[in-house]
Protein backbone atom coordinates (compact mmCIF):
# COMPACT_ATOMS: atom_id res chain seq x y z
CA UNK A 1 0.00 0.00 0.00
CA UNK A 2 1.21 3.47 0.65
CA UNK A 3 4.77 3.50 1.76
CA UNK A 4 5.92 5.29 4.82
CA UNK A 5 7.06 8.63 3.51
CA UNK A 6 9.21 10.27 6.14
CA UNK A 7 7.91 13.80 6.55
CA UNK A 8 10.62 16.33 6.01
CA UNK A 9 9.66 18.63 8.80
CA UNK A 10 9.52 16.46 11.89
CA UNK A 11 7.82 18.17 14.86
CA UNK A 12 10.00 18.76 17.85
CA UNK A 13 8.10 18.12 21.03
CA UNK A 14 7.44 21.27 22.99
CA UNK A 15 7.77 23.82 20.23
CA UNK A 16 4.72 22.93 18.21
CA UNK A 17 1.65 25.08 18.68
CA UNK A 18 -0.67 22.37 17.40
CA UNK A 19 0.09 18.69 17.33
CA UNK A 20 -1.94 15.62 16.52
CA UNK A 21 -0.97 12.02 17.19
CA UNK A 22 -2.60 9.07 15.44
CA UNK A 23 -5.76 11.05 14.88
CA UNK A 24 -8.57 8.80 13.62
CA UNK A 25 -12.17 9.39 12.62
CA UNK A 26 -14.64 6.72 11.60
CA UNK A 27 -18.15 7.57 10.44
CA UNK A 28 -20.95 5.06 10.85
CA UNK A 29 -23.72 5.61 8.39
CA UNK A 30 -26.42 3.86 6.41
CA UNK A 31 -23.94 2.88 3.76
CA UNK A 32 -21.56 1.21 6.17
CA UNK A 33 -18.57 2.63 8.02
CA UNK A 34 -16.31 5.23 6.48
CA UNK A 35 -12.74 5.62 7.70
CA UNK A 36 -12.36 9.30 6.99
CA UNK A 37 -9.06 9.86 8.84
CA UNK A 38 -6.68 7.03 9.63
CA UNK A 39 -3.95 7.83 12.04
CA UNK A 40 -2.82 11.33 11.02
CA UNK A 41 0.20 12.89 12.70
CA UNK A 42 0.77 16.52 11.97
CA UNK A 43 2.07 19.60 13.67
CA UNK A 44 1.94 23.34 13.20
CA UNK A 45 4.60 25.54 14.77
CA UNK A 46 3.96 29.02 16.10
CA UNK A 47 3.53 31.48 13.28
CA UNK A 48 3.68 28.74 10.68
CA UNK A 49 1.43 28.57 7.64
CA UNK A 50 0.53 24.96 6.82
CA UNK A 51 -1.65 23.91 3.88
CA UNK A 52 -3.46 20.56 3.61
CA UNK A 53 -4.19 19.35 0.10
CA UNK A 54 -5.58 16.18 -1.40
CA UNK A 55 -8.32 14.87 -3.65
CA UNK A 56 -11.94 15.19 -2.59
CA UNK A 57 -12.87 12.43 -0.21
CA UNK A 58 -9.39 12.36 1.26
CA UNK A 59 -10.65 13.71 4.53
CA UNK A 60 -9.18 17.21 4.47
CA UNK A 61 -12.26 18.97 5.79
CA UNK A 62 -12.84 16.25 8.38
CA UNK A 63 -9.32 16.77 9.64
CA UNK A 64 -9.96 20.45 10.08
CA UNK A 65 -13.23 19.81 11.87
CA UNK A 66 -11.52 17.41 14.24
CA UNK A 67 -8.78 19.90 15.05
CA UNK A 68 -11.32 22.64 15.60
CA UNK A 69 -13.45 20.51 17.86
CA UNK A 70 -16.46 20.59 15.55
CA UNK A 71 -16.50 16.80 15.62
CA UNK A 72 -15.11 14.45 18.21
CA UNK A 73 -12.31 12.15 17.03
CA UNK A 74 -12.72 8.40 17.24
CA UNK A 75 -9.25 8.04 18.67
CA UNK A 76 -5.92 9.83 18.80
CA UNK A 77 -4.62 12.91 20.52
CA UNK A 78 -4.77 16.59 19.77
CA UNK A 79 -2.47 18.96 21.60
CA UNK A 80 -2.79 22.72 21.48
CA UNK A 81 -0.05 24.63 23.23
CA UNK A 82 0.96 21.48 25.10
CA UNK A 83 -2.56 21.02 26.44
CA UNK A 84 -4.40 17.94 25.41
CA UNK A 85 -7.77 18.93 23.97
CA UNK A 86 -9.27 15.97 22.14
CA UNK A 87 -11.35 14.70 25.04
CA UNK A 88 -13.02 17.97 25.97
CA UNK A 89 -16.78 18.27 26.33
CA UNK A 90 -18.72 20.40 23.87
CA UNK A 91 -18.90 23.22 26.33
CA UNK A 92 -15.15 23.26 27.01
CA UNK A 93 -14.41 23.09 23.30
CA UNK A 94 -16.67 26.09 22.81
CA UNK A 95 -14.70 28.11 25.33
CA UNK A 96 -11.48 27.02 23.69
CA UNK A 97 -12.67 28.02 20.25
CA UNK A 98 -13.63 31.43 21.51
CA UNK A 99 -10.14 32.41 22.46
CA UNK A 100 -7.74 30.23 20.59
CA UNK A 101 -9.20 29.14 17.29
CA UNK A 102 -10.48 31.22 14.42
CA UNK A 103 -12.54 29.66 11.61
CA UNK A 104 -13.01 30.64 7.98
CA UNK A 105 -15.33 28.51 5.86
CA UNK A 106 -15.98 28.04 2.19
CA UNK A 107 -19.55 29.30 2.43
CA UNK A 108 -18.64 32.19 4.73
CA UNK A 109 -21.15 31.16 7.44
CA UNK A 110 -21.89 34.62 8.69
CA UNK A 111 -24.83 34.98 11.04
CA UNK A 112 -27.54 36.05 8.65
CA UNK A 113 -29.68 38.13 10.95
CA UNK A 114 -26.84 40.25 12.34
CA UNK A 115 -25.06 43.16 10.72
CA UNK A 116 -21.42 43.03 9.71
CA UNK A 117 -20.45 44.95 12.82
CA UNK A 118 -22.33 42.54 15.08
CA UNK A 119 -20.79 39.55 13.35
CA UNK A 120 -17.25 40.82 13.84
CA UNK A 121 -17.81 41.95 17.42
CA UNK A 122 -19.43 38.72 18.52
CA UNK A 123 -16.26 36.77 19.39
CA UNK A 124 -14.86 39.65 21.40
CA UNK A 125 -18.11 40.03 23.33
CA UNK A 126 -18.19 36.33 24.02
CA UNK A 127 -14.73 36.38 25.55
CA UNK A 128 -15.75 39.03 28.00
CA UNK A 129 -14.55 42.21 26.29
CA UNK A 130 -16.52 45.35 26.97
CA UNK A 131 -18.64 46.87 24.25
CA UNK A 132 -16.13 49.61 23.69
CA UNK A 133 -13.22 47.21 23.36
CA UNK A 134 -15.17 45.02 20.95
CA UNK A 135 -16.12 48.02 18.87
CA UNK A 136 -12.54 49.28 18.72
CA UNK A 137 -11.22 45.92 17.63
CA UNK A 138 -13.96 45.67 15.02
CA UNK A 139 -13.17 49.06 13.54
CA UNK A 140 -9.49 48.20 13.39
CA UNK A 141 -10.12 44.91 11.62
CA UNK A 142 -12.66 46.21 9.13
CA UNK A 143 -10.36 49.07 8.18
CA UNK A 144 -7.45 46.74 7.66
CA UNK A 145 -9.50 44.45 5.46
CA UNK A 146 -10.97 47.23 3.40
CA UNK A 147 -14.56 47.02 4.67
CA UNK A 148 -14.77 50.30 6.50
CA UNK A 149 -17.99 51.45 4.86
CA UNK A 150 -19.95 48.28 5.40
CA UNK A 151 -20.49 48.30 9.14
CA UNK A 152 -24.25 48.29 9.09
CA UNK A 153 -24.74 46.10 6.05
CA UNK A 154 -26.55 42.79 6.26
CA UNK A 155 -24.40 39.86 5.15
CA UNK A 156 -26.86 38.88 2.47
CA UNK A 157 -26.26 42.12 0.62
CA UNK A 158 -22.50 41.78 0.35
CA UNK A 159 -20.60 40.17 -2.51
CA UNK A 160 -18.86 36.86 -1.94
CA UNK A 161 -15.46 38.45 -1.57
CA UNK A 162 -16.74 40.97 0.96
CA UNK A 163 -18.47 38.28 2.96
CA UNK A 164 -15.33 36.21 3.15
CA UNK A 165 -13.36 39.23 4.30
CA UNK A 166 -15.93 39.80 7.03
CA UNK A 167 -15.53 36.14 7.99
CA UNK A 168 -11.80 36.64 8.15
CA UNK A 169 -12.22 39.71 10.33
CA UNK A 170 -14.47 37.72 12.61
CA UNK A 171 -11.99 34.87 12.80
CA UNK A 172 -9.16 37.23 13.75
CA UNK A 173 -11.16 39.25 16.26
CA UNK A 174 -9.75 37.54 19.31
CA UNK A 175 -6.21 37.16 17.97
CA UNK A 176 -6.50 33.36 17.97
CA UNK A 177 -3.54 31.06 18.43
CA UNK A 178 -4.36 29.39 15.14
CA UNK A 179 -6.56 30.23 12.18
CA UNK A 180 -8.33 27.28 10.56
CA UNK A 181 -9.47 27.90 6.98
CA UNK A 182 -11.58 25.38 5.06
CA UNK A 183 -11.49 26.07 1.31
CA UNK A 184 -11.78 29.80 1.85
CA UNK A 185 -11.59 30.56 -1.88
CA UNK A 186 -13.83 27.72 -2.95
CA UNK A 187 -16.83 29.96 -3.47
CA UNK A 188 -15.06 33.02 -4.91
CA UNK A 189 -14.12 34.15 -8.38
CA UNK A 190 -10.47 34.52 -9.26
CA UNK A 191 -9.96 38.18 -8.40
CA UNK A 192 -11.71 37.83 -5.03
CA UNK A 193 -9.74 34.66 -4.40
CA UNK A 194 -6.54 36.55 -5.05
CA UNK A 195 -7.63 39.26 -2.60
CA UNK A 196 -8.41 36.80 0.15
CA UNK A 197 -5.20 34.89 -0.38
CA UNK A 198 -3.25 38.09 -0.28
CA UNK A 199 -4.92 38.99 3.00
CA UNK A 200 -4.08 35.57 4.39
CA UNK A 201 -0.49 36.12 3.40
CA UNK A 202 -0.45 39.49 5.10
CA UNK A 203 -1.96 38.01 8.25
CA UNK A 204 0.67 35.29 8.18
CA UNK A 205 3.40 37.89 7.85
CA UNK A 206 2.10 39.47 11.04
CA UNK A 207 2.79 36.20 12.84
CA UNK A 208 -0.53 34.35 12.71
CA UNK A 209 -0.37 30.55 12.55
CA UNK A 210 -2.65 29.25 9.81
CA UNK A 211 -3.87 25.78 8.87
CA UNK A 212 -5.43 25.95 5.44
CA UNK A 213 -7.35 23.21 3.68
CA UNK A 214 -7.58 23.67 -0.07
CA UNK A 215 -7.59 21.87 -3.38
CA UNK A 216 -6.16 24.86 -5.23
CA UNK A 217 -2.41 24.93 -5.65
CA UNK A 218 -2.35 28.67 -5.94
CA UNK A 219 -3.53 28.84 -2.34
CA UNK A 220 -1.40 25.97 -1.09
CA UNK A 221 1.78 27.34 -2.54
CA UNK A 222 1.63 30.36 -0.26
CA UNK A 223 2.13 28.14 2.77
CA UNK A 224 5.41 27.38 4.52
CA UNK A 225 4.61 23.70 4.44
CA UNK A 226 2.17 21.54 2.49
CA UNK A 227 0.68 18.30 3.79
CA UNK A 228 -0.84 16.03 1.18
CA UNK A 229 -3.62 13.79 2.39
CA UNK A 230 -4.64 10.71 0.51
CA UNK A 231 -7.38 8.33 1.61
CA UNK A 232 -7.27 9.56 5.17
CA UNK A 233 -3.52 9.33 5.68
CA UNK A 234 -0.62 11.68 5.25
CA UNK A 235 1.00 11.00 1.87
CA UNK A 236 3.50 13.84 1.93
CA UNK A 237 4.56 16.55 4.35
CA UNK A 238 7.17 18.94 2.98
CA UNK A 239 8.13 22.58 2.99
CA UNK A 240 7.43 24.55 -0.16
CA UNK A 241 10.76 25.05 -1.86
CA UNK A 242 11.68 28.44 -3.29
CA UNK A 243 11.06 28.48 -7.03
CA UNK A 244 14.03 27.50 -9.25
CA UNK A 245 15.91 30.46 -10.78
CA UNK A 246 15.79 29.18 -14.30
CA UNK A 247 12.08 29.41 -14.60
CA UNK A 248 11.67 32.78 -13.07
CA UNK A 249 9.92 33.72 -16.24
CA UNK A 250 7.14 31.62 -17.56
CA UNK A 251 9.52 30.11 -20.01
CA UNK A 252 9.80 26.81 -18.31
CA UNK A 253 6.11 26.21 -18.56
CA UNK A 254 4.78 27.99 -21.57
CA UNK A 255 6.38 27.61 -24.94
CA UNK A 256 5.48 29.84 -27.76
CA UNK A 257 5.31 27.83 -30.88
CA UNK A 258 7.22 29.23 -33.62
Amino acid sequence: MIGNTRPLAAPVAGTALLRTTRLTKIFHGDGGTVHAIRGVDLSVARGEFVAVTGPSGSGKSTLLHLIGGLEPPTSGEIWLDDHRIDGLSQARWAVLRRRHIGFVFQFFNLVSNMTVADNVELPALMSGASRRQAKARREELLAELGLAGKTRAAPGRLSGGEQQRVALARALANRPSILLADEPTGNLDSSNSADVLRLLGRVHDQGQAILLVTHEARAACLADRVINLFDGMVADDAAVLPPPRSSLAAAGVVRLTG
Binding site: M1, I2, G3, T5, G54, P55, S190, A194, R198, E216, A217, R218, A220, C221, L222, V226, N228, F230, A235, D236, A238, V240, L241, P242, P243, P244, S247, L248, A249, A250, A251, G252, V253, V254, R255, L256, T257, G258
Partner: protein, 168 residues
Protein backbone atom coordinates in the same frame (compact mmCIF):
# COMPACT_ATOMS: atom_id res chain seq x y z
CA UNK B 1 10.12 32.89 -32.23
CA UNK B 2 9.47 32.99 -35.93
CA UNK B 3 5.82 33.78 -35.86
CA UNK B 4 6.02 36.58 -33.28
CA UNK B 5 8.58 38.34 -35.48
CA UNK B 6 6.39 37.93 -38.53
CA UNK B 7 3.49 39.36 -36.58
CA UNK B 8 5.50 42.36 -35.45
CA UNK B 9 6.70 43.02 -39.01
CA UNK B 10 3.13 42.90 -40.27
CA UNK B 11 2.58 46.23 -38.71
CA UNK B 12 5.53 47.98 -40.29
CA UNK B 13 9.05 47.19 -41.37
CA UNK B 14 11.67 47.34 -38.64
CA UNK B 15 15.23 46.46 -37.99
CA UNK B 16 16.68 44.04 -35.46
CA UNK B 17 17.06 46.24 -32.42
CA UNK B 18 13.63 47.74 -32.92
CA UNK B 19 12.16 44.26 -32.96
CA UNK B 20 14.00 43.38 -29.76
CA UNK B 21 12.65 46.38 -27.92
CA UNK B 22 9.17 45.76 -29.30
CA UNK B 23 9.27 42.20 -27.98
CA UNK B 24 10.34 43.42 -24.57
CA UNK B 25 7.65 46.04 -24.48
CA UNK B 26 4.91 43.68 -25.56
CA UNK B 27 5.61 40.72 -23.35
CA UNK B 28 7.26 42.45 -20.47
CA UNK B 29 8.80 40.37 -17.73
CA UNK B 30 6.84 37.24 -18.53
CA UNK B 31 9.05 36.58 -21.51
CA UNK B 32 12.81 36.44 -21.17
CA UNK B 33 14.70 39.29 -22.70
CA UNK B 34 15.37 38.07 -26.22
CA UNK B 35 18.91 37.73 -27.35
CA UNK B 36 19.66 40.07 -30.29
CA UNK B 37 21.76 37.41 -31.90
CA UNK B 38 18.85 34.98 -31.74
CA UNK B 39 16.64 37.54 -33.40
CA UNK B 40 19.03 38.08 -36.29
CA UNK B 41 19.43 34.37 -36.81
CA UNK B 42 15.64 33.91 -36.92
CA UNK B 43 15.29 36.84 -39.31
CA UNK B 44 17.90 35.31 -41.62
CA UNK B 45 16.05 32.00 -41.57
CA UNK B 46 12.81 33.74 -42.37
CA UNK B 47 14.50 35.50 -45.27
CA UNK B 48 15.84 32.22 -46.55
CA UNK B 49 12.31 30.82 -46.41
CA UNK B 50 11.13 33.79 -48.43
CA UNK B 51 8.79 35.11 -45.78
CA UNK B 52 10.65 38.41 -45.23
CA UNK B 53 13.10 40.47 -47.24
CA UNK B 54 15.60 42.97 -46.10
CA UNK B 55 17.00 46.22 -47.31
CA UNK B 56 20.05 48.08 -46.39
CA UNK B 57 19.19 51.61 -45.39
CA UNK B 58 21.88 54.20 -45.60
CA UNK B 59 21.93 56.66 -42.76
CA UNK B 60 23.86 59.84 -42.70
CA UNK B 61 25.19 60.06 -39.17
CA UNK B 62 24.91 56.44 -38.06
CA UNK B 63 26.02 53.06 -39.33
CA UNK B 64 23.82 51.41 -41.90
CA UNK B 65 20.95 49.29 -40.63
CA UNK B 66 19.22 46.41 -42.21
CA UNK B 67 15.46 46.87 -42.32
CA UNK B 68 13.22 43.88 -42.69
CA UNK B 69 9.72 43.70 -44.10
CA UNK B 70 7.09 41.04 -44.82
CA UNK B 71 6.76 39.47 -48.24
CA UNK B 72 3.40 38.33 -49.58
CA UNK B 73 4.40 34.77 -48.82
CA UNK B 74 5.16 35.91 -45.30
CA UNK B 75 1.73 37.47 -45.01
CA UNK B 76 0.12 34.25 -46.16
CA UNK B 77 2.12 32.24 -43.64
CA UNK B 78 1.08 34.62 -40.91
CA UNK B 79 -2.58 34.37 -41.90
CA UNK B 80 -2.39 30.58 -41.94
CA UNK B 81 -0.87 30.56 -38.45
CA UNK B 82 -3.56 32.79 -37.06
CA UNK B 83 -6.33 30.64 -38.58
CA UNK B 84 -5.11 27.33 -37.32
CA UNK B 85 -6.03 26.07 -33.79
CA UNK B 86 -3.19 25.71 -31.39
CA UNK B 87 -2.42 22.25 -30.27
CA UNK B 88 0.10 22.07 -27.47
CA UNK B 89 0.95 18.85 -25.87
CA UNK B 90 0.62 19.23 -22.11
CA UNK B 91 1.60 15.82 -21.11
CA UNK B 92 4.79 15.83 -19.18
CA UNK B 93 6.36 13.19 -21.24
CA UNK B 94 9.43 12.38 -19.10
CA UNK B 95 7.56 12.29 -15.91
CA UNK B 96 4.86 10.01 -17.24
CA UNK B 97 7.43 7.67 -18.70
CA UNK B 98 9.33 7.62 -15.42
CA UNK B 99 6.17 6.88 -13.49
CA UNK B 100 5.03 4.04 -15.69
CA UNK B 101 8.43 2.42 -15.85
CA UNK B 102 9.42 2.89 -12.22
CA UNK B 103 9.05 -0.78 -11.14
CA UNK B 104 11.35 -1.73 -13.97
CA UNK B 105 13.97 0.89 -13.39
CA UNK B 106 14.19 -0.13 -9.74
CA UNK B 107 14.35 3.54 -8.81
CA UNK B 108 12.41 5.05 -5.91
CA UNK B 109 8.75 4.00 -5.47
CA UNK B 110 5.92 5.71 -7.27
CA UNK B 111 4.69 7.60 -4.25
CA UNK B 112 8.00 9.28 -3.84
CA UNK B 113 8.06 10.11 -7.56
CA UNK B 114 4.67 11.70 -7.42
CA UNK B 115 5.52 13.60 -4.26
CA UNK B 116 8.71 14.95 -5.78
CA UNK B 117 6.90 16.12 -8.90
CA UNK B 118 4.21 17.70 -6.81
CA UNK B 119 6.70 19.62 -4.69
CA UNK B 120 8.31 20.86 -7.86
CA UNK B 121 5.01 22.09 -9.21
CA UNK B 122 4.23 23.79 -5.92
CA UNK B 123 7.44 25.68 -5.95
CA UNK B 124 6.79 26.66 -9.56
CA UNK B 125 3.41 27.88 -8.54
CA UNK B 126 4.97 29.93 -5.81
CA UNK B 127 7.24 31.50 -8.38
CA UNK B 128 4.27 32.36 -10.55
CA UNK B 129 2.52 33.85 -7.51
CA UNK B 130 5.46 36.10 -6.83
CA UNK B 131 5.56 37.11 -10.42
CA UNK B 132 1.91 37.97 -10.40
CA UNK B 133 2.39 40.07 -7.29
CA UNK B 134 5.31 41.97 -8.78
CA UNK B 135 3.68 42.47 -12.15
CA UNK B 136 2.24 45.93 -12.67
CA UNK B 137 -1.47 45.92 -12.93
CA UNK B 138 -1.68 47.63 -16.23
CA UNK B 139 0.05 44.92 -18.21
CA UNK B 140 -2.83 42.77 -19.29
CA UNK B 141 -0.75 40.58 -21.52
CA UNK B 142 1.62 39.67 -18.75
CA UNK B 143 -1.21 38.99 -16.40
CA UNK B 144 -2.96 36.68 -18.81
CA UNK B 145 0.21 34.79 -19.43
CA UNK B 146 0.77 34.19 -15.74
CA UNK B 147 -2.86 33.21 -15.23
CA UNK B 148 -2.63 30.76 -18.07
CA UNK B 149 0.48 29.23 -16.57
CA UNK B 150 -1.15 28.88 -13.19
CA UNK B 151 -4.20 27.21 -14.62
CA UNK B 152 -2.05 24.76 -16.52
CA UNK B 153 -0.08 24.00 -13.38
CA UNK B 154 -3.28 23.37 -11.48
CA UNK B 155 -4.40 20.99 -14.20
CA UNK B 156 -1.08 19.18 -13.95
CA UNK B 157 -1.44 18.87 -10.21
CA UNK B 158 -4.96 17.53 -10.55
CA UNK B 159 -3.68 15.01 -13.06
CA UNK B 160 -1.02 14.01 -10.52
CA UNK B 161 -3.78 13.21 -8.08
CA UNK B 162 -5.41 10.99 -10.66
CA UNK B 163 -2.11 9.23 -11.14
CA UNK B 164 -1.90 8.78 -7.41
CA UNK B 165 -5.32 7.18 -7.34
CA UNK B 166 -4.62 4.86 -10.24
CA UNK B 167 -1.14 3.74 -9.51
CA UNK B 168 -0.88 3.67 -5.77
Amino acid sequence: MRLPLLALLAKEPAHGYELKSLLEQTFGQAYPSPNIGQIYVTLQRLEQAGLVRSQNVVQATRPNKRVYELTPAGRDALAAWVEEASDEPRVRDDFFVKLVLSPLTGATDRMALINRQRRHYLSLMRGLSRLAAENDRGNKVSRLLIEGAMLHLQADLDWLERCQEEFV
